[in-house]
């Protein structure tokens, strides 16, 4: 009889807590969204599975000695994984459209308004009892508005590791929801005539310009915002690898094998932060709400900026491409293209939207650098 009791005690059934069951269900929901609906599957799948593993009683995945504990410490606590991802993203990014029309950088800057406005909103939530966000927490939450997964995880790991799970899940969920969140805002802020505006074809960009561009970006970052150099530096490193053409093997590894390997571990490590005590709080609900607001404000700011630029510039600018300023490459650019095609079936905005889209990546990295410098 005593042995039976010991046997019962060693099963998970005897040790399940309600929180763990709920968090396993959350993990299963993420798996469902990834597998059945294809929501950012590359990240939500490993995050969901990591969440299931983390909440197994007695297994101790996230205690010192556990697998996910080490993956988290090595990859995210140190800040290494998001930076490696950023290198791979750099190696996959083509700045041609941006170099051809550099004014698009202003759209990438305007869309970062979502980040800073949300920072304000997160602090204002403190008036509601139950919320207790410090300036660091608020900054880490606000960066969801940058619509850039690695940037959000990097900043959260620096400023507010306890909220990292919720922030990463919110960031990637909303990136998957870009085609649903953005179009209503874009349509509300533009007239059908504005949506029909066709843009002049982009000029050819020489290889030399593409090679010098990442070096120029890096130089400016070194001079004016050294706190952003981890992000921007790795990004430019990856981009130069791709553009210089002499290290094709390294560039291919960064864009494929390396980024895939890191993505697996990054997802698991984020999943390891989805434990009941950290995730099942009223603050998580606040973070999910604030993330959606950040996205919406960023989109609106980009569209409004594009309208202003269209009024004052000689070359016409379709305001829809302003929405692509919230990075989320290449989803946001595709959405701008799609909404443009609905208004005018002969108007292909994809290449024009790629400019503000990659500008948004730089913009959110700069915003992250500002927050690190001022709050961190």
């Amino acid at each position: 009889m005593e042995q039976l009791a010991i046997l019962w005690d060693s099963t998970a059934l005897a040790h399940f807590e309600l929180g763990q069951v709920i968090m396993m269900a959350v993990g299963a929901l993420l798996l469902y969204l990834a597998i059945v609906h294809g929501f950012e599957p590359l990240l939500l799948f490993p995050i969901g599975f990591g969440a299931v593993l983390t909440n197994i009683p007695l297994a101790g995945f996230t205690e010192p000695g556990g697998l996910l504990y080490y993956i988290y410490e090595v990859g995210i606590h140190s800040g290494v994984f998001p930076l490696l991802i950023f290198m791979g993203v750099g190696a996959m990014t083509d700045f041609g459209a941006l170099i051809a029309n550099p004014r698009m950088l202003l759209l990438g800057a305007a869309a970062q308004f979502g980040i800073f406005a949300t920072l304000f909103g997160a602090i204002a939530l403190n008036f509601i009892p139950g919320f207790d966000f410090t300036l660091k927490d608020a900054s880490a939450i606000a960066i969801i508005g940058g619509a850039d997964g690695p940037t959000a995880i990097f900043l959260a790991s620096r400023l507010s590791p306890d909220l990292l799970g919720a922030i990463a899940v919110a960031a990637y969920s909303y990136m998957a929801l870009v085609p649903i969140i953005q179009p209503p805002i874009m349509k509300a802020l533009t007239t059908p005539e504005e949506r029909k505006i066709e843009m002049a074809q982009l000029r050819h960009v020489s290889r030399k310009e593409k090679i010098l561009f990442p070096l120029g970006v890096l130089l400016l970052t070194i001079l004016f915002l050294p706190s952003a150099t981890p992000l921007v530096g790795m990004f430019c490193f990856g981009n130069l690898m791709k553009e210089c053409g002499v290290v094709d093997r390294l560039s291919k590894t960064a864009q494929n094998e390396l980024i895939n390997i890191v993505t697996i571990f990054l997802g698991l490590a984020v999943g390891s932060k989805l434990s009941a005590d950290k995730f099942l709080t009223v603050e998580t609900l606040g973070i999910l709400g604030l993330g959606a607001i950040a996205f919406a404000i960023g989109t609106a700011a980009g569209v409004i900026m594009a309208k202003i630029m269209n009024r004052f510039s000689s070359a016409s600018i379709n305001p829809l491409i302003g929405a692509a300023g919230v990075s989320a490459v290449p989803m946001a650019a595709r959405v701008a293209n799609k909404v443009g095609l609905e208004a005018n079936p002969h108007n292909f905005l994809l290449m024009h939207a790629m400019g503000p889209n990659v500008a948004g990546v730089l913009g959110s990295a700069v915003a992250a650098g500002v927050l690190l410098a001022l709050v961190g």
């Binding site: 941006l98 170099i99 550099p102 004014r103 950088l105 202003l106 990438g108 800057a109 970062q112 308004f113 980040i115 800073f116 406005a117 920072l119 304000f120 997160a122 602090i123 204002a124 403190n126 008036f127 207790d132 410090t134 300036l135 608020a138 900054s139 020489s206 290889r207 030399k208 310009e209 090679i211 010098l212 561009f213 120029g216 970006v217 400016l220 004016f224 915002l225 210089c244 053409g245 002499v246 500008a359 730089l362 913009g363 700069v366 915003a367 500002v370 927050l371 001022l374 709050v375």
Partner: protein
């Protein structure tokens, strides 16, 4: 948290909003200037384009060559066939 300390935090957040957006705009405007300078520089000193460009045509050339080989094989096969027919 007391309302007063929240108000202080809100003030700080508002300052961050101004400073942050201001800095992002200034930085990316500088980048616009830099990209335009880059364009002028590249137009003034065209130099030679990096030579790795020559590698790409060779990749596209390969399928063409395979087609050519196929054509040659087909021609030879037809010739042999005709020769055998004639000498039967």
């Amino acid at each position: 948290m007391s309302a007063q300390s929240i108000n202080e935090l809100l003030f700080e957040a508002a300052t961050l909003l101004m400073v942050g957006m201001g800095f992002v705009f200034v930085f990316l405007t500088l980048l616009i200037v830099a990209v335009n300078l880059l364009k002028v520089f590249c137009e003034r000193f065209p130099g030679q384009e990096p030579k790795t460009l020559t590698r790409t045509p060779s990749k596209t050339a390969r399928p063409a060559q395979v087609n050519e080989d196929k054509n040659i094989v087909a021609a030879i096969t037809a010739a042999v066939h005709a020769h055998r027919q004639a000498n039967r």
